[in-house]
Amino acid sequence: MQRPESAWAALTMRRYLVSSWPWRSYAYLLSSVPVGVLTIAVLLVSVGVSAVLSPIVVGVLLLTLFPLYGVVIGSVERWRARLVLPSGIASPHAKLPPTMTRRERLKFRRREQASLRSLGYGVLLGTFVWIFSAAFAGMSAAVLVLTVLAPMIATDDEMGMGPWILDTTGEGFLFLFVFGPCFYVVSSYLLGVLAAAEASLAKALLGPREEELRRNVAELRRSRLDLVDAFETERARIERHLHDGVQQRLVGLTMTLGLAELDLPEGESKRLVVKAHGEAEAALADLREAVRGIHPRVLVDLGLEAAVREVADRMPLPVAVQVSLPDRLPAPIEAAAYFFVSETLGNVAKHAGATNCHVQAWVNRDRLVVTVTDDGQGGADPAQGTGLTGLVTRLDALGGTLDLSSPPGGPTRLRMECPCRLDD
């Protein structure tokens, strides 16, 4: 027999009355009593404390923490709702990255709409729902118990049921068999409807809303993009600093040394100046290499294709480059793709034992795809490349992915995919 997905569906089952559902409804309705009482008590005490403390700012600050009660109420109630909603209620809260501190998390939760909604549900639960549930379920339970016990009670005592007074065991049994089933049927359906209604209310207020889910995801992505952006900006700043400061000074130094060489007669001092000149040039070459690794100028000026070709040119093995992109992509995406290629080619040159390598980049339905394939020995382990780990983080923030296929014996193929626009 298929399990019903909700209390409403359960009510339509033919075997509803002999299933566990009526009892679940009881449990759900009655268990709302302690939760509701506790909720309203905590809220009232908090409001009271805030009111007392409001002359000093602390009271007002306490009020701002109220949405956090909502978070707690929400999680308890979502758990309790499993009694009548076997599939449960999904959490409306955004999933937060594990890197967030406890403080940041609380702050985020406090501002979430879902927290406020849960708080609202808590107020309903505390002021109205539990009382209503308790009245119906409690009364019904009491009547049911009395009915079941009627033969026993009627034996010793007399028992009034409206105009009907039961005073013998037989009458008790008569009452039980005649009235019991009717009552069970009526009350079970009634309570089932009540429980289903309460669960629906809980689901409406505690469950996720479509647009909210989407917004949360978008917000989170935005904040991670900001991080990537900040990282890029910092790289560019360092690059500019090296370029405009240190590099220029070194060039100036080589010019001065070059001029000095012209003036000096052959001899020890000229030999030293020539040596110094050579060293300054070596430093300049090193610096050029380092600056390029930080933030390649060609990428900024001429785009991904030119930059990828430059990397390919510097490789000790032949690298075929096939890039077909419609136009310039957003800077963080270009940077991620560039560093993917340069990191991967570096690994190929170091570890793969390859004689040929192939870089391809194209756009497929609004996604940028870049692959690097080599004819090396294969068996590459993604866990080993520390450079790749950083790349995965970056790509993740951009909504992209990285795949590695490297069977022993090769070929090795790394593929990155990433949306071409940042806002979808």
Partner: protein, 219 residues
């Protein structure tokens, strides 16, 4: 004293390098007519009174992108007689190709380090002033290294590749012969072979750009 006293406009945003370059050029007997710090200023002074040669940095204010290159392209389009020597901090042939796309002759692309080799730098300047093409050896090395294994270059012998690289730097046969310590006749033979294998017409001062343009097309 140089073969010819050149009037030069200098565009370089770093004061330090501008001074350094000016003093080198001055010492060599050239006239530094103007020294400016950005691309627009460069275009303005060149339009007002064209010099023999423009020496420009690739990156300049305001965008610190390729303003220098763009100014160079504009000058080339308006006043093709002016020699243009571009100084770059980067070994990036992508800049070179955009420079060579529209033009032949009177063009140089050197790394800034090269300026320190004063004699060579001045010789390059003269070649550019005479309408020749000069490309930094480092950039040429990179261009040639890339295409070792594909296309018609694969047919060249290592020696021929060496000769091609030196040719691409704008050297004449005598200079190549001296560099490789062979006779000029041997160089002529290599050059002939290279042109035959690459199916290029034997040109004189255009051979560098021909070779480089060819190389770019292979990309």
């Amino acid at each position: 004293m140089p073969a010819r006293r050149l009037s030069i406009v200098l565009a370089e945003d770093s004061m330090l390098l501008r001074e350094g370059l000016a003093s080198i050029l001055d010492r060599a007997g050239h006239e530094v007519r103007d020294a400016v710090g950005d691309g627009d200023a460069l275009l303005a002074v060149v339009r007002k009174s064209p010099p023999d040669v423009v020496i420009t940095d690739v990156r300049m204010p305001p965008g610190h992108s390729d303003e220098g290159l763009r100014a160079a392209a504009a000058i080339r389009a308006e006043l093709p007689a002016i020699g243009i020597l571009v100084l770059s901090q980067y070994v990036a042939d992508a800049y070179l190709s955009s420079l060579l796309e529209t033009t032949t002759g009177g063009i140089g692309y050197l790394l800034k380090d090269r300026v320190g080799h004063v004699t060579e730098f001045l010789a390059s300047l003269d070649r550019v002033a005479e309408g020749g093409t000069v490309v930094d050896p480092e950039v040429v090395r990179q261009l040639l290294a890339r295409r070792r294994d594909d296309g018609p270059l694969a047919a060249l012998t290592p020696r021929e590749l060496e000769v091609l690289a030196l040719m691409a730097e704008g050297r004449v046969n005598a200079s190549i012969a001296a560099e490789l310590v062979v006779s000029e006749a041997a160089v002529r033979k290599h050059v002939g072979n290279i042109f035959a294998k690459l199916q290029l017409e034997d040109g004189l001062d255009r051979r560098v750009s021909a070779v480089l343009t060819y190389l770019r097309r292979q990309a």
